[in-house]
């Protein structure tokens, strides 16, 4: 009997301690959270949502594509400076410029996108830059500076992603959604996720978190580019398989594209080096 009471007491004590620790954790919880949501930007009125019915997109190749970061709200924008955003967008643009069906990629400065601007804002961008397709980049970065229940898992606002969090961890998620502006149709999307285990001590906490934040965005961008490549390949297949859902037109310019086999500087240098070495060898071997 006494043993039973003791064990009950022990269990009660443990539960109490656990609750106390948990509540204590909540009170001292500090989490740096920076986010910009594409859903908030495109569909801002969640109470009375405007129903936008997408029509069949007509993609005229080669495409002029815009790329922009969706605006955050309030303090959320402090995670990335405008220069960082342009750098990240350039990385993405640099990778996709090589495709023959992409004519231009315009980097849209954040100033031209209004918070909760929606499709009317995208129509303005379309008129201003002459782009038909836009890649909207959203992000969600959380830095857990303390360990608690809330930081054990975190539901990103970008999408249905649960990221784990421990003390001083940095979880970054970037997400690119590609829309055909005239038809309001989402063509494809790809995320990039990166998680950095916390290494900071109290002395260098602020600096380390800042560095982790930068690293998180850079690494997530790399992963996002890989995923975009895969999604683009899948999208191309989808366009071929479902011609009733996507119409593709080719401009005369695109149809008469000309390719050439060209010798460049490195090629010419190599060939001349071979020729020179052969000539030298011939001279030595001649009697």
């Amino acid at each position: 009997m006494q043993t039973s009471n003791q064990s009950r007491y022990s269990i009660l004590l443990m539960v109490s301690l656990f609750i106390a620790l948990a509540l204590g954790g909540c009170e001292t919880s500090r989490t740096r959270h920076n986010a910009a949501s594409v859903v908030d930007f495109l569909y801002p009125d969640s109470k009375n949502p405007v129903v936008v019915k997408p029509s069949i997109p007509v993609l005229t190749l080669p495409l002029r594509v815009g790329i922009a970061f969706v605006p955050g709200t309030g303090r959320a924008d402090s995670a990335l400076t405008e220069k960082q955003k342009i750098d990240l967008m350039q990385q993405v643009a640099g990778h996709f410029k090589k495709y023959p069906y992409v004519k231009d990629i315009e980097l849209i400065p954040s100033a031209y996108l209004k918070a909760k601007g929606g499709f009317s804002n995208l129509d303005q961008i379309r008129t201003m830059y002459g782009v038909d397709v836009i890649a909207l980049v959203s992000y969600d970065q959380v830095q857990f500076t303390d360990q608690d229940f809330l930081s054990l898992t975190y539901w990103t606002i970008v999408g249905a992603y649960v990221v784990p969090g421990e003390k001083n961890d940095t979880s970054t998620m970037l997400d690119t959604v590609v829309f055909d502006i005239p038809s309001r149709k989402m063509l494809f999307r790809a995320p990039g996720i990166h998680h950095i285990k916390g290494r900071a001590t109290l002395a260098n906490l602020s600096e380390e978190l800042r560095l982790d934040s930068e690293t998180g965005f850079n690494e997530a961008t790399k992963q996002m580019i890989e995923n975009l490549d895969q999604q683009l390949a899948l999208f191309k297949d989808k366009v071929k398989e479902r011609p009733q859902e996507y119409k593709v037109l080719h401009t005369a310019e695109y149809q008469s594209r000309t390719g050439g086999g060209s010798i460049d500087m490195t090629w010419m240098a190599l060939i001349l080096a071979l020729g020179g070495a052969f000539a030298l060898r011939q001279r030595r071997t001649l009697p």
Partner: protein, 227 residues
């Protein structure tokens, strides 16, 4: 010194096609025309050039590589050119449908360089080292071209065409194929000869890339031995 006939002939045809536009119209790689049955354009497209600078660079490169190959006594030079040309055209047709037109000798030049260097791997130490170095650079260059989608440091500035990286890869693959086809037997014999206990291993290796017919060694033999 013998005259590199095939090389001069190829460069002459490429120049003539450039100077006489109606010839270019008949020879150029035109995707629509190929689809309607004009298959020769897959190979002859390599001989058409789309700018004077492209012609000059391609002809210089082919003259240098082709001359070396012919002076080394290579009997299969015509096979390398025709195979590489056809494979390049076919590869562009199959993998780059976005291009309606294609022209340029650089795919064949790439094939020629790869063949020359593969052949040089069984040569004397200095030449072998250079060939290994060039092969490594060719592989690196093709890899970079594929990842960037463009050629490195295009010398001619803006050109009226877009680079097609697959043409260089196709030329290199065609050269590898012709090399195995024409040298495969010799390679097997060389490896057998170099096995322990074979008294003529060293000599056969030194002579490996030169012409040996019915036990009679051509003039290339003395050249190889001296070098």
């Amino acid at each position: 010194m013998r005259m590199p006939l095939w090389t001069v002939l190829l460069c002459g045809i490429a120049t003539a096609i450039y100077l006489v536009p109606p010839l270019a119209g008949v020879a150029i790689y035109d995707r629509d025309a190929i689809a309607s049955g004009e298959w020769w354009r897959l190979a002859t497209g390599n001989l058409v050039h789309l700018s004077l600078m492209q012609l000059i660079l391609d002809v210089i490169a082919l003259l240098v590589v082709g001359t070396i190959i012919e002076l080394r006594g290579e009997r299969h030079w015509w096979l390398i050119c025709s195979t590489a040309g056809t494979v390049v055209g076919l590869s562009v047709y199959l993998t780059a449908p976005e291009f309606r037109y294609y022209g340029g000798l650089s795919g064949i030049v790439t094939g020629a360089v790869v063949y020359l260097c593969l052949d040089g791997l069984r040569d004397t130490a200095n030449w072998r080292g250079l060939c290994m170095f060039v092969l490594a650079l060719v592989a690196l260059k093709i890899g970079i071209e594929f990842s960037s989608g463009d050629t490195l440091l295009t010398v001619a500035g803006s050109q009226p065409f877009e680079a097609v990286p697959v043409s260089h890869l196709a030329g290199a693959c065609a050269a590898l194929f012709v090399f195995i086809l024409t040298r495969g037997k010799q390679l097997i014999q060389s490896s057998r000869a170099s096995a322990p206990g074979s008294c003529s291993a060293g000599e056969e290796l030194a002579l490996g890339n030169h012409e040996i017919e019915e036990g009679k060694v051509t003039s290339a033999k003395s050249f190889s031995k001296n070098s």
